[in-house]
Subunit: 643 residues, 2 copies
Amino acid sequence: MASGTKSPADHLRAALDGPWRDVREQARRQLCDERLFGDPYLDYHAARARVLEQMRLVSEFGLAEKGFRLENGGTGEPGAAVTGLEMLAYADLSLWVKCGVQWGLFGGAVENLGTERHRDVVKQLLSLDLLGCFAMTESGHGSDVANLETTATYDPATQEFVVHSPTASARKDYIGGAAEHARVAAVFAQLITGGESRGVHCFLVPIRDDEGHDLPGVTTSDCGLKGGLAGVDNGRISFDQVRIPRENLLNRYADVEPDGTYRSEIENPSRRFFTTLGTLVRGRVSVGGAAAAAARVALSIALRYAEKRRQFRDTESGEEVVLLDYRSHQRRLLPLVARSFALAFAQNDLVRRMHAIQTGQDLDPTAQRALEKRAAGLKAAQTRHATRAIQECREACGGAGYLTENRLVTLKADTDVFTTFEGDNLVLTQLVAKELLTAYADEVRDLDAMGWVRFAATMARDVVRESSGVRQLIQRLRDRSDEGVDDGDLARRSVQLQLFADREDYLVRTAAHRLRARAQETHPFEAFNNAQDHILLAGEAHIERLILEAFIEGIAGIDDPEARELAEWVCDLFVYSTIEANQAWYIMHRFMSVERAKAVRRGVNELVDRLRPHTPTLVEALGVPEAMLHAAMLDDASVHQGE
Amino acid sequence: MASGTKSPADHLRAALDGPWRDVREQARRQLCDERLFGDPYLDYHAARARVLEQMRLVSEFGLAEKGFRLENGGTGEPGAAVTGLEMLAYADLSLWVKCGVQWGLFGGAVENLGTERHRDVVKQLLSLDLLGCFAMTESGHGSDVANLETTATYDPATQEFVVHSPTASARKDYIGGAAEHARVAAVFAQLITGGESRGVHCFLVPIRDDEGHDLPGVTTSDCGLKGGLAGVDNGRISFDQVRIPRENLLNRYADVEPDGTYRSEIENPSRRFFTTLGTLVRGRVSVGGAAAAAARVALSIALRYAEKRRQFRDTESGEEVVLLDYRSHQRRLLPLVARSFALAFAQNDLVRRMHAIQTGQDLDPTAQRALEKRAAGLKAAQTRHATRAIQECREACGGAGYLTENRLVTLKADTDVFTTFEGDNLVLTQLVAKELLTAYADEVRDLDAMGWVRFAATMARDVVRESSGVRQLIQRLRDRSDEGVDDGDLARRSVQLQLFADREDYLVRTAAHRLRARAQETHPFEAFNNAQDHILLAGEAHIERLILEAFIEGIAGIDDPEARELAEWVCDLFVYSTIEANQAWYIMHRFMSVERAKAVRRGVNELVDRLRPHTPTLVEALGVPEAMLHAAMLDDASVHQGE
């Protein structure tokens, strides 16, 4: 990294850093600070106290303000906020969660669901004068938010809401901040006024006094130890007829007048519910980003180790062989690097879209819903990737990988719940698929029986993929796709894109078909359940296609020819290894011949061979500063012979 | 479980319990004792102290004695010992490891590598008067034991060995017991006498005095926190010219006379090395068993939860749906139950073979090597299964699965290293494959070029599968296999077995072919490395076939017709889901048509549907007593609506 001339690694890192690369660079400097790292030797009470102190240090970075509007004391740069806070994942995931709860979930609820009258709350939570928590999930209902049991019943006599947990399962559960630090909760509850339930709304409910004691009617408790995230104080809250002022309803989309009259600009209760939840999309965007960041840390550690660690002698040369020279080691780690590249581009693209919508640059009425679908899908893809990649890195480092001093087990334990929180991955993938099926149904809803038959006969035609938000580059590649995929050159992006898109289209169409066929003869739940594995595949295929498109667009932004060529190879490896994972499907549905499938397998081997000498460049490009890796084995001469 | 009449679950459990079911039943009673469970809230020093106390309680069960010969103070029932100690995994994996190190690894080394002169040591270690550790792995060499760096140089002047760590990487590392409790280490070191190195031998080296201080020349240190197993005190040991008496060499296979003359009944140094390691096979047998036991605990928890936990309403009935009624939930958990059944039978079969060899009932000279191969393969299969199954169980229980009080995260953290210790899974799978390739090469070694060509043309003929140890039942099924697999009824065991065997044969033959072709034109390491992924697949396919055979044999031992039918369905699910996982391979290598592959996928769905109502029976059959599950959510009404 000589000053002036940038290396290919620098160019690649800049590309992966995305639109807010300055924010990332600044965070890299700010976060190389021992005070911000996790200490796995602390017990969980001490860890929580430490993370709270760390959050106060982070509050001086000016990152949190970026996530709030000007009128609320922020700077109105949501993309920068999400990107900057994601970098905390390099230091410590408990810290990232703690900040995410305070500024992202709690702060985001007040900012997005509140109005002018809640402006002071935003100012206090920004400065950490007010610590809050986000009390949505209940013991009995997590994924199914619409059926939460907590009630908030309006009492016109005192102009108060009465917040109550009517059953044991209505208890708020797993709530970050609820065990120790939070003073106020943003509580999601069924609003009841005039004897009528109006669905889930959000209320600000004080839960602790200044000394940290539960307020009257509030009972908090501690979830205790978890798989990881020791620094986050997850807890439970039950309410026994707790009264709060009418004004504590976050009233952006609905309000209750002093006399108890319910008013909302959104007539349809279901639309109101989804609008309310939709404003919280930033949480999902953030979780996916942090998961991918944690995977980059793990891969950086495992690959640096694999470049140094030797085991077994090459009988001919007499030298012990470096782990990364083994084909099996290349095959287990390099495709994960390729996927990390792909996801980094996809995350940048997602944050860019989110930023455009939330700052009013994108006013397309369908954009918000498309964003939610994309965020849900990428959250699932990124957290699934993190779980798999970190596990693989742990195993690839053998016994050393199991020692806490080498950090991989902490990364694994801390990110393990990411596949669950902010939406269970399975539920989110289903949500993506349902959106696709709905779009599809909109197009063919009016077909009669004959129409359906004819439709089924024209399965090759593209009716599904939405065109909103597709850039010119991808459109041009798509337009070239009529060349005949099975003969086309698999190294060509247009052919690759077509293979991903064909899979998605086919799965969505046939899932719709199957649902419709079944729905006529059986109970709707049976029809759905019978096709559930099919539906999930459709959702996954859609997400994979979006990720590939983002990768292709990301490469287009790299000017340096050497860096660009390397990125092209990495993209090929992403494509080949993804197709390899799905090759049974491609063959069984006649999208790929057996010969081509074998070529794909050989292709993966050729690509890992080709990328092997460039691994140090790829690791540098992942962008995790060496000083932030904190893995003892990388510097310990004992584990590397011949040093 | 009415007295007198046994339920299908009882019959299934008895079958899965295997030949030492009485030992298992007794352990179930003994282990339902709060004092033997782990306490995740202890810090690691306190956890280690607790586990040491727990080991003293276990020493009163009479289990450890079963693992030693009569003349050493044992009862000579190795199969019972391995089976009984495996049950500790239901209570706490740290306790299982601690006992395994003391009696299995350390005790096993003294018992199997020592002679009469070490008899007192066995008595002391049995009673826990002497705590030991097993110091094989070094910082620089784990998998590659033959190249350990520690030296033991004989000094005839004093009739002592001088044990020394010549380099930083010669440090013994990850050694259970070395951080705090062990007083003596069984140290693996290069024996040097008369200026000549004689390869790796094992020595008893005192490391601590009675107060626990390092002895002169010995430096121990602590590996500190790990991903799990907080109750095990893993540590490091370095030796600086430590002198031990000549008699501390464990001299069963080789000895050094007072004047320094080296003597061994086994002339070939390589054979001597593998004989030495071969006696330690019990460790691998035990690790596989404990991993599978941990997976059974996790599946018992996740399935019981899935029977009670509801989420999302069925719009028609208005009822919330139990998790296990979802197709996706059935598909993620039930095939893992099927594999748990398969592995339980395979483990019982493995322990039976080990017992027969170690008690002198099986004197076939090839049996020991076959046992080592089988133990290596099953260790890899079982630990891989545990890693995957426990992770899936955690995710299937959502946020509740992440709380330590529900145990899944502890099971995950504790078993995570099982894929690594007692032999890295990848290295072990490779070892299995190399054994297969060697057997193969023995048969075709003498073919000339024309012979190779002819051979390649007759790939359909079976030359690979060893016939040693195959029972009649399997042989009969194999003999029926010429019916034409692609037309045969996939529900028939003979056809299923043929599909597994075909895959193995084909992979082994083609791997051998590829290696031979490459070896002629390139560097041997290149030839090996280029085919490494292929070689690993061959090893895996072999193991899968052995597992299926064990399942089939296990079913044959079930008399109760209802239990037997259920077991047959579970076996079908094991077969179908295993084939589904490999369906691309089957299609690409023309062992299966696309239509049949689709039928397999439908078959998995039909089987999970069919097994769904029997899940409580299957869970009971897994044999983990409800009182040992220790998962708060199973009894917590808050997480189950409608209770």
